[in-house]
């Protein structure tokens, strides 16, 4: 079969593809959006691991995050489904075609608000796939309302103060019997890529909650920290008409067990804490407690928080044939004429 031909011999990976073959369309997200960092990580990892594009599918919900599958792995089939419903579509696709590597991309609104039920039930079925939440605590695409993962007490420019407790996606995943639960920060390329590779190798649902700042709507009006735009001019746009361009935030390596404070575009800070070397990700209780503690300290634990290889995955529960169901043809799918006669005999 023909492939993209190139005059200059570019660098290729173990299946003979170039990095370019894993890219997508140019992003239409805001400049500096964390989601674009995640796309870049996926491209790198897919290239490094030599994923065959035709064996990879991308499924997403609706939101800025859910748009991002358009910006990586352009050769792979992709399905931008409905808001909050990526899990069911992914489940159906996996049931139909067990050989595909499914990359699910969702947002915090998509997964923790409208999609919470489907998310939890996907985990319960342990559908083999990589489930990435590009978590920014807001609804980006609808312009800056709080999502269900927004911190209690957080202030947004248009939405005011959030008085509700956040839904912790990792905690929900662990309690929901997910066997691979990790958290990272979009601007930490090394950690994100490491986790992605581990997740892709996991047999079952692998959830990575990636903190992925929304540069446009995570502005703290009441913040005491410097306001990014025109503070000294006291200009406040009435509608969101002007969006400054930012650089993506990237952080340096930091050690296990240490904290790293990261300043976001609006001047506010978040604190990441990399899991201790000694953390035992196979310990359910420890994983839950560590998240709970971090939440009360307003820290974000990063790393592989929980792993469990004992959960049965969708395919073993279904007991399906080894080849993809969707590849079966009439001879396998339509029982014989005689079998119908037999069955009808019992109905007379």
């Amino acid at each position: 079969m023909s492939d993209v031909t190139n005059t200059k011999a570019a660098k290729t990976n173990n299946i003979g593809l170039e990095k370019n073959d894993y890219k997508g369309l140019p992003s239409t997200l805001c400049k500096g959006c964390g989601h674009d960092s995640v796309s870049a990580r996926i491209i790198n990892v897919a290239y490094d691991m030599g994923l065959p594009p035709h064996r990879t599918i991308k499924i997403s919900g609706i939101g800025c995050s859910s748009k991002s599958p358009a910006y990586f792995l352009g050769r792979s089939h992709s399905f931008n489904a409905l808001h909050g419903r990526m899990p069911s579509v992914a489940t159906g696709a996996m049931a139909a075609h067990r050989d595909l590597l499914t990359i699910g991309i969702s947002g915090d609104g998509d997964t923790a608000s409208i999609g919470l039920g489907q998310f939890k039930h996907l985990l319960r079925r342990n559908v083999p796939m990589l489930y990435i939440v590009e978590n920014n605590g807001v609804y980006g695409l609808t312009k800056g309302q709080f999502s269900a993962t927004a911190d209690e007490g957080q202030t947004l420019k248009y939405a005011g103060v959030n008085e509700l407790p956040p839904i912790d996606i990792c905690l929900e995943a662990i309690v929901g019997n997910c066997g691979f639960v990790a958290r990272s920060f979009a601007g930490d390329p090394r950690q994100v890529e490491t986790l992605l590779k581990a997740a892709i190798s996991y047999k079952g649902t692998a959830v990575i909650d990636i903190i992925s700042p929304c540069v446009t709507f995570n502005n703290h009006l009441s913040s005491t920290k410097s306001y990014p735009f025109g503070k000294d001019h006291e200009i406040q746009l009435q509608e969101l008409s002007y969006i400054p361009h930012y650089e993506e935030i990237t952080i340096d390596e930091y050690d296990d067990g240490t904290r790293k404070k990261v300043q976001l575009h609006d001047g506010s800070w978040i604190t990441l804490k990399k899991l201790e070397k000694g953390h035992d990700p196979t310990d359910f209780g420890q994983a839950v407690n560590i998240l709970q503690e971090a939440q009360s300290k307003k820290e974000l634990i990063t790393g592989l928080i929980y792993i469990n290889n004992n959960y049965k995955d969708l395919h073993s529960v279904l007991g399906t044939v080894d080849q993809p169901i969707s590849s079966l043809q009439e001879k396998d799918l339509r029982p014989s004429r005689e079998s119908l006669e037999d069955i009808m005999a019992g109905m007379r």
Partner: protein, 617 residues
Amino acid sequence: MSETSHASEPQTAANGARQINDFCINVATANGTGSQTSNIALLRAMFRMGIPVAGKNLFPSNIQGLPTWYNIRLSKAGHIAHRDVAEILVAMNPKTVAEDLTKVPSGGVIFYDTALPVKEDREDVVYYAMPVKDMVKSMSVAPNLREYIANMVYVGVVAELLGIEMEMLRSALDTHFSGKKKAVDLNMQMIEMAAEHTRNNLPKRDPYWIERIEGGNKDLLLVEGNAAGALGSVYGGVNVVAWYPITPATSLADGLNEYLPQLRRTSEGKSTYAVIQAEDELAAIGMCVGAGWAGARSMTSTSGPGISLMAEFAGLAYQAEIPTVVWDIQRVGPSTGLPTRTSQGDLGFTYQLGHGDSRHIILLPANPAECFEFGYKALDLAEQFQTPVFVLSDLDLGMNLWMSKPFVYPETPMNRGKVLTAEQLEALNGNWGRYADVDGDGIPYRTLPGTNHPAAGYFTRGTGHNDKAAYSERPEDWEGNLQRLRRKFNTARKHVPKPELTQQDGGSFGLISFGTNHNAIIEAMEMLKADGHVCDYLRIRALPATAEVGEFIEKYDRVYVIENNFDGQMHGILLQDNPSHATRLASLSRQNGMPLSAIWLHEQIKAAHERFTKALA
């Protein structure tokens, strides 16, 4: 069709003549008492005696203790429509007996449990008292089996007095209990004891008789619509099923769960299918859409509330052009409505399910053989047209046992639609547009995930897109796509199942209907004919309506559109299809949870048509 038998009029015994194989039996019991086993045994035994029968279970939305009626119609003329009047009552339920008694027509027969407060005070009926408790007691059976076995008493009494063959009852029970001998024996013992008691104590005083018809019901099946639909889907190669329990659709999924393991496991015992009980209907159709997109033949079954919840996904599947099949076993709505009563009330809503301008292909089965047929055809049409296909059955068809023609093994190979392989893509040099109308029929080509060609991948979305599946907000692209989708819909007009025409000599007006109204209409046409009203009848089997429908309407000054819903939904659809013939179309619809009856239809059509002809004159 017989012209002399007007089976819908109650038969009176006044003239003393024998009434053979042409009356109704109504068994009044409570839910959860096991009476279903008795009733189905009676029905099946009569069926095996060659008599045309129809059984209808009127059960409550409850598990135990509420009133349930089982209505068995015998009709030597073969009429199997619902009939409101039953000549014979088997009264077993103290809670409803008072009202049940009042419904027995003059000349009727009442079998009753002596534990019930029945005073034998009507002169115009025959009473048979059944000392159920005593009879049960006299059989040595574990106490916890007594109530269950109690229902076999009326089987024995009724069989003895009406003439149902014991051997046929045994064979019916044998089928029912899949040959489990102990169960069959226990029940037969009670039946025979009751029969014996009857022979000894209850002399026949009524004129109703059940007599074997040699060669009757030959080849016919006795089967539920849902089982037939499940089986048809299995032979249609369904391979991903996602569903959520809901009455009256659950038994379709049950059927799949029964037949798939039987018929579709490899020699190593692996499944060529996946059945997933979803967490709700939103997820069920989401899974079907995901599976259809990935190349599976997917389906789900649901009822009204599920259809409401599936609206957003139906729109996505329509817009992104993804095949899947949705069975709606209709029950009474709006809302939770009457979960255990029948309706055709989802038609209009489903036809345009989803916000914005969408239109769906709908198949409308009228009998189990057609449920089987549409089981595989729906899957073919879905893949052929890359769109969700809805099959609108109903509770009456889905959950009752019907006499049915045998199922016809699919005559044509599966239609997998326009799917490009890697080889074909290569031949095209990778130049293809997911939504391009290459063939002028509005149906584009698709590729499946897993296709090993660099140009195979595309981006599926519910948003606006151009021929190449790229996001587009351009007015031309949006409008062009809607127009192509309409072209596709009009192509479907030529490929969906054609209507079935019933023509009479000199038919002077028309009837249009669909689904389970069929039997009542056939019967009403006979009654109308007897009154001098000869009409023709077209049964629509699918939407969009094929050309035959418009042609039929054009032929008559007046066409009655008959439906089991309140709004006259098919009438509305036909108006939109045929505005220039709007004045010919009259709506005749009703919704009370019961199947339409021939008596009601006869009255209504007659009155309406007499008004119409008078107005013309």
